[in-house]
């Protein structure tokens, strides 16, 4: 396959994954503002930061308001990570790699883009937000379903999956890093109601506020939350899960190409490191330092894959 096609698939799935993650972040932000009296716009600063767009937002807006922040995250064309920009880029990539996609997958992406163009044509009224966020999640679920249900398990599939997982690992670690301070053990042994709101918001932004209680106690504990999102291999957005899957997809590529590349070593080393760690180790070493390092190495892996498999635009 063309290096351009591999690149297109990888980015198509990164963008689609990102669109969904941004929608979740908005959802979590909205929820916080509902459950708290005297909402401060700082919360939206946190959301913008998790999305990695706090700075460019600041260049367009003097202050942070929920209305502007939401619009920036959902629709702003100048923001390459807004939901609309992500779908646009995802669909453009899909169009470019059209011959690598099954008809079902292509149609799911195209219909998603058609619906979003209408839905996000104008500023979304606050009352319509939940519906719009649902629609985004539903569309991405349809794309994912069509993809898993119809694509051959070959290199195309592996490149697409790796794109999804690298993006997801990046998102999860950013979400944690923005809120790392509320997870530090020194804050308090027993969560205040304020902490509870913060903790729930973290879980909600990875759609895990329910599943958390299936795995741990119903009670939120910072160490458990960190464990769940970083180390728990059952949790499909945890760093461990992402790396298990990245390693296995890279493994199929190594088989298919009969060649191991630097990317394989990097990914294996990262997975081994995650498997050897306990949440206590991470907390002791410093959660923030851990996450910062992780984001950087995750990026580096993306680079190595792109070079090793000769991606180009």
């Amino acid at each position: 396959m063309l290096g351009r096609t591999a690149n297109g698939l990888y980015w198509m799935f990164r963008y689609i994954e990102r669109a969904e993650n941004i929608a979740r972040l908005i959802d979590a932000g909205l929820r916080m503002s509902l459950t708290r009296s005297g909402v401060t716009d700082d919360d939206w600063d946190g959301v913008l930061q998790s999305a990695g767009v706090r700075e460019p937002y600041g260049e367009m807006h003097d202050k942070t308001t929920s209305v502007d922040a939401i619009d920036y995250l959902l629709r702003e064309r100048a923001n390459p990570s807004s939901v609309m920009s992500c779908f646009e880029s995802g669909r453009n990539n899909a169009r470019m790699v059209r011959t690598a996609l099954t008809r079902d997958t292509w149609e799911a992406v195209n219909e998603c883009w058609i619906e979003m163009k209408t839905l996000l044509a104008k500023r979304v009224k606050p009352a319509d937000l939940p519906e719009v966020i649902d629609a985004i999640k539903r569309r991405v679920a349809l794309i994912r379903g069509a993809f898993h249900g119809s694509m051959l398990r070959n290199e195309l599939y592996n490149f697409a999956r790796i794109g999804t997982l690298i993006e997801r690992a990046d998102n999860t670690s950013r979400i944690l890093d923005v809120k790392y301070y509320v997870l530090l053990p020194s804050v308090s042994a027993v969560g205040s109601s304020l902490d509870n709101v913060q903790w729930e918001s973290i879980l909600r932004s990875v759609s895990a506020h329910r599943s958390y209680s299936w795995v741990y106690d119903a009670e939120y504990k910072p160490a458990n939350i960190a464990d769940f999102l970083i180390l728990n291999g059952q949790m499909p957005r945890s760093l461990s899960y992402c790396y298990e899957k990245i390693v296995s997809n890279l493994g199929y590529l190594a088989q298919e190409y009969d060649e191991r590349l630097p990317a394989h070593e990097t990914a294996d080393a990262m997975l081994r490191a995650l498997q050897a760690l306990s949440v206590r180790d991470i907390m002791d070493k410093g959660l923030h330092e851990f996450l910062e390092d992780f984001v950087q190495r995750n990026n580096q892996l993306g680079q190595e894959i792109s070079e090793g498999y000769r991606f180009y635009q």
Partner: protein, 474 residues
């Protein structure tokens, strides 16, 4: 009924009974609720939209992707009518290839005085780089789309031989797909010949013409100018259906005497390139140096016998409108027989007598640019205003050799679905022909229909639509 009151209708006889090929369909249609059909028509549109069967109109930023309107009443051709057409098309395509081989080699047709030398050698579509070179299998036009119009029960004319890169075949396939999805019962009632094999036949046909330098199983690719090209959908569709790579010029380069593409495993050779890029842009080293769409050096690889380019560079000379007027002579010269399909009578404005006739009869004629396409740059005399005709006459007088003229044919009509039921509209037909060691004509093709009442312009860029085209079995 506009300006063509006597048009031959393919569905209804003069006595308002359906013609034979339409009998089954008409019976079915008579039992349908018109409102239901209008609803189906909207369904079809949403199928096309979600599939992304769109084309780009240049110069419209936001309307970047448009749908070609699809009319759900099929155009039906009997097996007998089709056989006659197919024989005529085959004869013509064989003659075209013989003509191309001749003008790039011995030029016997010129020596025999049947065609003026200047018409060939001064023509920009004639490529001196092809002189003395014979493409693999001696095939120049791997894919041809012969445009045909009908004016009566037994009157068919060839309007154009599209021998460069005929487009529209994806619509032929998607129209059929859509019809079968929406009206499966119709395909039980009518035995319609298959068009669905086209991508497979195309692949086999291209693979059978691999270059001498190809050892083993030939590797095919479709070359597209990219996602902003108006026919990008079709390029990706064909690559997808054939299961071959879709490439752009920037994906390819010449290495070790081969054309190679940049893959995730390094550079890999391509043996057969179905290019949807014009000659001019194919090789910046040979043709337009400013082309970013092509592959520098591909012509050298081609001439060394290490790649097949379909269609061959330089085939454009055979579908030039000035050459068109000589097609009856060309067919006879190479096949030794009279043409089975008629040419539309054509006045070459380069000839003073013809020019005078054309200027005197502008109101009755269609005048076309020799190199134009897409329905642009032409004058439809009967519908043009006096002022338009006067302006065009000035252009004609200034550069007569740039134009040809033809009578306005009363194109046949087939009904389309309208709010009040059905109404006749003018149509043409583009069957698709594959040439390898044999000539294969896909039974059907693309029917284009002028959606405006009375209009004779069927081009999609000017408000034309399409129909599914059925060729019935015996």
């Amino acid at each position: 009924m506009g300006n063509a009151p006597l048009a031959f209708d393919e569905m209804m006889n003069a006595d308002d009974a359906p013609r034979q090929p339409y009998q089954q369909y008409f019976e079915w249609y008579s039992g349908q609720n018109p409102a239901h059909l209008i609803g189906k028509s909207r369904d079809a549109e949403s199928i096309f939209r979600k599939t992304g069967i769109t084309f780009a109109v240049y110069g419209h930023a936001d309307s970047a992707e448009k749908l070609i309107p699809f009319d759900l009443i099929p155009r039906i051709i009997s097996a007998k009518e089709w056989r006659k057409l197919a024989q005529g098309i085959e004869q013509r395509v064989v003659a075209l290839n013989a003509f191309l081989d001749d003008i790039y080699h011995k030029q016997e047709i010129i020596r025999a005085g049947r065609i003026p030398r200047a018409l060939i050698e001064k023509n920009s579509a004639f490529l001196p780089q092809m002189i003395g070179f014979r493409p693999p299998g001696g095939v120049y036009t791997h894919i041809v789309g012969t445009d045909i119009v009908r004016t009566g029960e037994d009157q068919f004319y060839v309007l154009e031989d599209n021998a460069r890169t005929p487009s529209g075949v994806s619509y032929m396939l998607e129209n059929r797909e859509t019809m079968m999805q929406m009206f499966p019962e119709l395909f039980h009632r009518n035995k319609v010949q298959r068009v669905e094999d086209y991508p497979m036949l195309l692949r086999q046909s291209l693979a059978s013409l691999a270059p001498p330098g190809c050892k083993g199983k030939p590797r095919l690719a479709v070359l597209t100018p990219g996602i902003y090209n108006s026919a990008y959908y079709e390029h990706s569709f064909l690559a997808d259906m054939m299961g071959v790579e879709l490439v752009e010029g920037s994906d390819l380069r010449v290495m070790d005497g081969k054309v190679k593409m940049r893959t995730t495993r390094g550079y890999e050779a391509i043996d057969v390139l179905y290019r949807r890029v014009d000659d001019d842009f194919l090789d910046p080293l040979t043709f337009r140096p400013d082309s970013a769409l092509g592959i520098p050096g591909i012509m050298d690889v081609y001439r060394a016998g290490n790649i097949t380019i379909a269609n061959a560079p330089g085939t454009g000379i055979s579908d030039d409108k000035a050459i068109y007027s000589y097609m009856p002579e060309i067919v006879e010269f190479y096949t030794g027989r009279k043409p089975l399909l008629e040419n539309v009578p054509t006045w070459r404005c380069s000839e003073p007598q013809s020019l005078q006739y054309v200027l005197d009869n502008l109101a009755d004629l269609v005048v076309k640019e020799v190199h134009g396409s897409g329905g642009y740059g032409m004058l439809v005399g009967p519908t043009a205003s006096k002022k338009e005709r006067a302006e065009f006459a000035a252009k004609l007088a200034a550069r007569p050799a740039n134009y040809i003229a033809q009578p306005t044919l009363s194109l046949s009509t087939v009904p389309i679905l309208v709010k009040k039921g059905i109404a006749p509209r003018h149509v043409d037909l583009r069957p698709y022909v594959l040439v390898s060691d044999k000539v294969q004509i896909i039974p059907g093709g693309l029917t284009r229909v002028a959606l405006k009442q009375g209009s004779l312009v069927v081009n999609s860029s000017q408000g034309g639509g399409t129909k599914d085209t059925w060729v019935l079995e015996d």
